[in-house]
């Protein structure tokens, strides 16, 4: 508005020259070349930012999904956590995380570029895209926020609010960026040839394993397990909210995967296609698995299945065929159901929304599937072929090593972090507070004022 910015092209050329140029192309070619370059940067920037905005909206998706899958008496609390981890995370990642992830440093972590200070070459690890530095920050920041927010679901309904805030800051500022550096910031895993296109491991693996560490340290919700070891269902209070959340996540994922090119290359069409096919197949496979196992097509499992398919295809999305994507999604969908049952009934780890299964387990699967299904033709000169396409075991080995290292790092860092918090400020609310609900106890509000809700579970 009010003539704020002239296009760089106008600035360079001046309007007069611009008019001339329409008639005197040969003379104006130098300017043309500049404008071509400017156009190219502009497209990439628009793409990267809009994709980042879509990824930002996934925060709303996680918030709705997690709120819907928990009880009404804790809905505000989980919403507040989702909101606040983003608020703190975006600032922490700007101040510290981005530097650790992409700043020049060691093979283990970046040690420069805090507060986006670019001393020239500081962010060489991101030189492959021509968008402005702040576009890179914006896109990477919403990724970091995704990793952080995954944790809240697994720890829902019993974690103290101030403890949550604290650990979400540490995740965005340190734990996540370190892994990011290993794989995307030119660190040691990148060097040994591990690939993770949009973050099955970097984002979902880190978030998922930290969620597991948190759920273990917290223990199950009151009333979740019976003395005889059997498990009770604690149904979420609003499946429509949860379904909306998954639709929003899926929507945002079209920024997450295709946007990870950070450039408007034609390959984004292929990425969008593998993304949608894997997600769809994930939903179908999870529904059918649940139908077979529990006799009814469980909607919460179908929703998890879509997320599972999306998480799984995130690493290989650009490197595999549409057919492979469908297979990858299928395995993800089956896996998520089995994994939910396994963690709940066998390990007795209480994960209210299935975050560990959807993100950690399917993230691991997706990362490894890249080693199986990658085909050189989709991005020549990157991954090469995977095991199933004649590429041998090398890629698969690198992928597996990546999964294991990130598991080890995240679990270790997570367990230490949560143990420290437990010691210092306490991790879990009291039994009484838990029974009354965190909304009233921690925030002094009700989520649904005036509604008649049984809060007896």
């Amino acid at each position: 508005m009010s003539m704020k910015f002239l296009k760089p092209s106008h600035r360079l050329l001046g309007v007069g020259v611009l008019v001339m140029l329409l008639f005197l192309p040969l003379l104006a070619s130098a300017d043309d070349s500049s404008t071509i370059k400017i156009n190219s940067v502009a497209i990439d920037t628009v793409w990267t930012l809009l994709a980042g905005v879509l990824v930002f909206f996934m925060q709303a998706g996680f918030a709705m999904l997690e709120a819907g899958f928990t009880r009404a008496k804790n809905a505000c609390n989980v919403l507040m956590k989702n909101l606040m981890d983003f608020c703190f995370g975006s600032i922490a990642y700007w101040a510290i995380g981005f530097g650790i992830m992409f700043g020049a440093g060691t093979l283990f972590m970046g040690t420069s570029g805090f507060f986006l200070k670019d001393a020239g070459g500081t962010f060489a690890s991101l030189d492959w895209t021509q968008v402005p530095l702040e576009a890179k920050y914006f896109f990477q920041m919403v990724f970091a926020a995704t990793a952080a927010t995954i944790v809240s679901g697994a720890m829902a309904e019993r974690t103290r609010f101030n403890a949550y805030i604290l650990y979400s800051i540490v995740i965005s500022a340190f734990i996540y960026p370190v892994v990011g550096h290993w794989i995307w910031g030119g660190g040691w895993l990148a060097k040994i040839g591990m690939w993770d296109f949009a973050g099955s491991t970097v984002v979902h693996g880190v978030g998922g394993w930290l969620a597991l560490a948190g759920a273990i340290m917290l223990g199950p919700r009151v009333g979740k397990y019976n003395p005889d070891g059997s498990s009770n269902a604690i149904p979420g209070h609003s499946i429509p909210l949860a379904a909306l959340g998954v639709f929003i996540l899926w929507f945002g994922w079209f920024g997450f995967n295709p946007g990870s090119t950070m450039a408007a290359v034609p390959e984004i069409a292929h990425i969008a296609t593998t993304t949608v096919l894997a997600a769809s197949m994930g939903g179908i496979a999870a529904m059918i698995t649940a139908w077979k196992m529990f006799k009814k097509p469980d909607i919460s499992m179908a929703l998890n299945g879509v997320v599972a398919g999306l998480v799984a295809i995130t690493a290989p999305t650009a490197f595999v065929s549409a057919g492979s994507a469908i297979l990858i999604g299928l395995v993800g969908g089956v896996l998520v159901v089995l994994s939910v049952v396994f963690f709940d009934k066998i390990l007795h780890i209480d994960d209210p929304v299935g975050a560990v299964s959807a993100h950690a387990i399917c993230g691991a699967w997706g990362t490894i599937s890249l080693g199986l299904f990658a085909q050189d033709i989709f991005a020549p000169g990157t991954t090469g072929n995977g095991l199933f396409f004649g590429g041998g075991w090398k890629l698969l080995g690198a992928q597996t090593l990546g999964v294991i290292s990130v598991f080890a790092w995240s679990m270790t860092a997570g367990l230490i972090l949560f143990a420290l918090i437990k010691k210092i400020i306490g991790l879990r609310v009291s039994r009484e507070e838990e029974l009354r609900g965190l909304d009233v106890e921690e925030h002094g509000v009700e989520s649904y004022s005036g509604f008649q809700i049984f809060t007896t579970q």
Binding site: D298, D344, G354
Partner: protein
């Protein structure tokens, strides 16, 4: 005067209402309730856990009637609610000491209808 309280299956309310109307019982108060009885409850499976719902949704009717309406009311409720299956419900009858119509201040049997 009696106060009749009946717990019935939610999806039987339309039939019970109809039977009561046929019996010329037009006034009642309806509340939502959860009931524990012989009925086992359906099982929900939520995320793979079989979820035995033993507090089942019920409709609770409260009907104040004069003595001569007691039996017709009971019969109407049975007529509308009975399927012969567990879960059909219960009827409780209490003595009603007094009844007042707020609008007019009328008391006793005249106030009921």
């Amino acid at each position: 005067m009696k106060l009749i309280i009946a717990m019935i299956q939610p999806h039987k309310l339309p039939d019970v209402k109809k039977a009561l109307y046929d019996a010329k019982v037009f006034k009642m108060t309806v509340t939502n309730a959860l009931g524990c009885g012989q009925q086992k409850g359906f099982t929900e499976t939520y995320r793979g856990v079989i979820h035995e719902v033993n507090l089942l949704k019920k409709i609770r009717l409260e009907i104040a009637v004069n003595e001569d309406f007691v039996e017709p009311t009971i019969e109407a409720i049975i007529k509308g609610a009975k399927t012969g299956k567990i879960g059909d419900g219960k009827i409780f009858v209490l003595d009603l000491a007094e009844c007042i119509r707020i609008r007019t201040g009328e008391r006793g049997p005249e106030a009921i209808g």
